[in-house]
């Protein structure tokens, strides 16, 4: 491992800690959710040991403050901090979404994809919180769309834009408040065959920039033909407005392209190309990307490799990497600290290139793909 990487101690850190960890009781769902001093810090979809699924609202140290049940596996959560609203989405190719608020005790609102549409697991609020944009599939047409929902009308669908690609996955609103960036993963699925990818041999992923008001295509970036099986799935904007992505390689095992790159409205896609000493094997799958609070560091999680990679957004250089088994959820916390979660119920805080700051382990919980900082 290169010297500018994180120290990778060749042991399971969890096993080192296990003997002295303090056991704390989680807050049951029925308890007052937002007692004084119990600020919500993070949100994540999760699976419980008894097989049920929910969205967990967590304190900074991992205590469960609220547990919002889901009828099936969730994926990501869109959050509008000022209004205290959040929406959890079914994962691909699910059709439900659950909206809830932390401002009142109002019950969650469940809404569904329209006929001949399914969700891809991601969405984003408009800056004013009045609209929700959701990545969806036109099942019959095999084309990606951005569903537009009116929050005030209990999330009634009021329109849709084309995503200008196939298989839109994560969708984000850029800081101008007017432009949506869409990761069109290129994979076609239909609910009848669950998560089976129907077009892996012919996929054409892209990163598109779409006018949020009109749906007009502002820019579209595609990968060269040799990388057409690199599914662009998760995106985040950095401090300078560049959009960073983490991808999933759907091609053969003999090729292992870089999975992380960036682009801008007026800047073509570039993949990070670290020097040999800094190459990190991510096993073909980046599950989530996040930016530090100041946007200077991009973090990408790779659950198959059990690794997190930290990248300097200005130079594109890998700053550090750390090992964390089954890590996937990742969110910028304070300063340059990231919060990360795993499928083994671990919430960890760490700073690039340093030993983890803290770690909490929730028993009987598996954190799903994405972790979001509340607010």
């Amino acid at each position: 491992m290169a010297t500018d990487m994180a120290i990778n101690v060749a042991i399971d850190r969890r096993s080192l800690l296990i003997g002295s960890l303090t056991m704390l009781a989680a807050r049951p769902f029925s308890a007052p959710a937002f007692a004084a001093g119990e600020a919500i810090a993070f949100v994540s979809a999760s699976k419980h040991a008894d097989g049920r699924y929910s969205v967990l609202l967590l304190s900074v140290d991992g205590a469960i403050l609220r547990d919002v049940p889901l009828s099936a596996r969730g994926h990501d959560i869109a959050i509008h901090g000022p209004s205290g609203r959040a929406v959890a989405f079914a994962r691909r190719p699910g059709t439900f979404a659950v909206a809830f608020t932390t401002m009142t005790n109002a019950p969650p609102v469940v809404f569904a994809a329209a006929a001949d549409r399914h969700f891809y697991g991601h969405g984003v609020f408009s800056l004013d919180g009045r609209l929700l944009y959701v990545s969806e599939n036109d099942i019959r047409g095999a084309r990606g769309v951005i569903g537009i929902y009116d929050v005030a009308s209990n999330y009634k669908k009021i329109g849709e834009h084309p995503s200008h690609g196939v298989g839109p996955h994560e969708i984000i609103l850029l800081s101008d408040g007017k432009t949506l960036a869409v990761a069109n993963g290129g994979l076609d699925t239909v609910p009848d065959f669950d998560r089976v990818d129907l077009n892996r041999d012919a996929m054409q992923p892209s990163l598109t920039f779409v006018d949020a008001a009109s749906g007009a295509l502002r820019a579209k970036h595609v990968l060269p033909d040799s990388l057409r099986q690199l599914s662009i799935r998760h995106i985040v904007a950095d401090a300078n407005g560049a959009v960073w992505f983490g991808a999933q390689w759907e091609g053969g095992p003999s090729e292992t392209p870089q999975l992380i790159g960036c682009a801008g409205r007026d800047r073509a896609i570039t993949l990070i190309d670290p020097p040999e000493r800094n190459r990190v094997d991510l096993k073909g799958y980046v599950g989530s990307v996040a930016a530090s609070r100041d946007g200077s560091v991009i973090a990408a999680s790779a659950p198959k490799a059990g690794r997190i990679v930290f990248i300097d957004s200005a130079s594109g250089a890998i700053k550090a990497a750390s090992d964390f088994r089954d890590v996937c959820g990742i969110a910028g916390d304070h300063d340059a600290v990231f919060a990360t979660t795993s499928g083994f119920g671990v919430l960890r805080h760490e700073r690039p290139g340093a030993a983890p700051i803290s770690q909490a382990e929730l028993q009987d919980i598996a954190f799903d793909n994405h972790l979001r900082r509340w607010g």
Binding site: L16, S20, D326
Partner: protein
């Protein structure tokens, strides 16, 4: 539910200790034993199951071009029956490896090129019609460069089962015959490449049996054994969601795999039989503690149900009809088998698979 939390400052001083010394001190005694077990699992499963199944696929596919040529030359009923038999054997051999979606099978989109199914958008039919309409002889020399949908067994099935323009010596079938032969040769080529990539010196078998720091796929025996566990879980999931669930939900237009050749039930049986043998070859239940007998009892019952089912609500030959399991039960058994391997069996073998690692999106 409980929460454990701990800050790390004391670990900073620990990290200053030599990594080597720390590792030696803290690696559990079971590590070497696990590594040995994992190596044995991989070797046994490859030798007794995986490699023979890929070899069988190559062997059955090898008969297809001659069988197609014979039908095209004679149009005789006997030749036609022989071709359908060879085709059926190849499809069923493929069903026996369809879940082994790692290594050579997924290189260069071979799996999709070999068996483009499911195909709910009818891509194969549409593209095959276009090829026939164009009747471009250049295509015959370039099948591997065509869309995956028309390169493999589904396209070959469409040609050899077409009753409106049956393959034979008559002129209307001339281009179809050439196309069918070219596709059959492509199937032979694909299956041979897959088998060769498994067995050649330095191939995927060697890769799985020689993990190490210079191995780009498997650093430890555990990595290779985990790959095999994931393939097993893929098998349960695939059969459940692509073959059984559409029947449970009564999906309109669902017609199962290779329905033109009336193979959905046999395809299901071939998949289950292979998965059953694979499960036995891995023998992970041997790692369960004595107090986990309930797991063995449960899986024994589940396998009995799966072995007796025809995958369509009926039973296999020789089993009383009163034992027939509804497709809903078969679906549940497959999903629950997957869960019990994830939750109980693979952890017992020190092969726990992460939630996101297994099925992230």
């Amino acid at each position: 539910m409980r929460v454990m939390s701990k800050s790390w400052p004391q670990l900073l001083s620990v990290a200053a200790i030599s990594t080597t010394a720390l590792s030696a001190a803290l690696i559990p005694a079971s590590y070497a034993r696990d590594a040995e077990s994992h190596y044995a699992i991989v070797q046994r499963t490859l030798d007794t199951h995986v490699l023979p199944h890929f070899a069988a696929l190559e062997a059955t596919a090898a008969k297809l071009p001659d069988a197609v040529e014979q039908v095209c030359r004679t149009g005789a009923d006997g030749s036609r029956e022989e071709l359908l038999s060879d085709f059926r054997n190849t499809v069923l051999a493929y069903a026996g490896v369809a879940y082994l979606r790692f290594g050579p099978l997924i290189e260069g989109s071979r799996r999709e090129r070999l068996s483009f199914w499911p195909d709910p958008r009818g891509i194969m039919n549409r593209q095959l019609r276009q090829l026939i309409a164009a009747s471009d002889t250049a295509v015959l020399e370039a099948i591997p460069k065509q869309s995956a949908a028309v390169q493999g067994l589904p396209a070959l099935e469409a040609l050899i089962t077409d009753t409106e323009v049956p393959l034979g010596p008559a002129e209307p079938a001339a281009y179809r015959c050439k196309l069918a032969i070219a596709i059959a040769r492509n199937v032979v080529q694909l299956t041979a490449e897959i088998n060769n990539d498994w067995t050649k010196s330095g191939g995927w078998k060697d890769k799985m049996l020689r993990p190490g720091s210079d191995n780009d796929a498997y650093k430890e025996p555990r990595d290779a054994a985990s790959e095999l566990v994931k393939a097993m879980l893929t098998g349960f999931q695939l059969i459940a969601t692509t073959e059984i669930e559409p029947q449970v939900l009564k999906k309109r237009g669902f017609d199962g795999p290779y329905v033109r050749s009336n193979l959905p039930k046999l395809y299901f049986r071939a998949g289950i039989n292979s998965l059953d043998a694979y499960y036995q070859a891995m023998a992970l239940e041997a790692f369960l503690d004595d107090d986990k007998d309930w797991v063995k009892n449960w899986t024994g019952g589940a396998w009995r149900t799966l072995r007796e089912s025809d995958g369509a609500g009926g039973v296999v030959s020789g089993v009383p009809k009163t034992f027939a399991a509804p497709v809903r039960k078969v679906f549940d058994m497959l999903i629950q088998m997957r869960r019990i391997v994830v939750g109980e069996i693979s952890p017992a073998a020190a092969l726990a698979v992460g939630f996101n690692e297994l099925d992230g999106d």
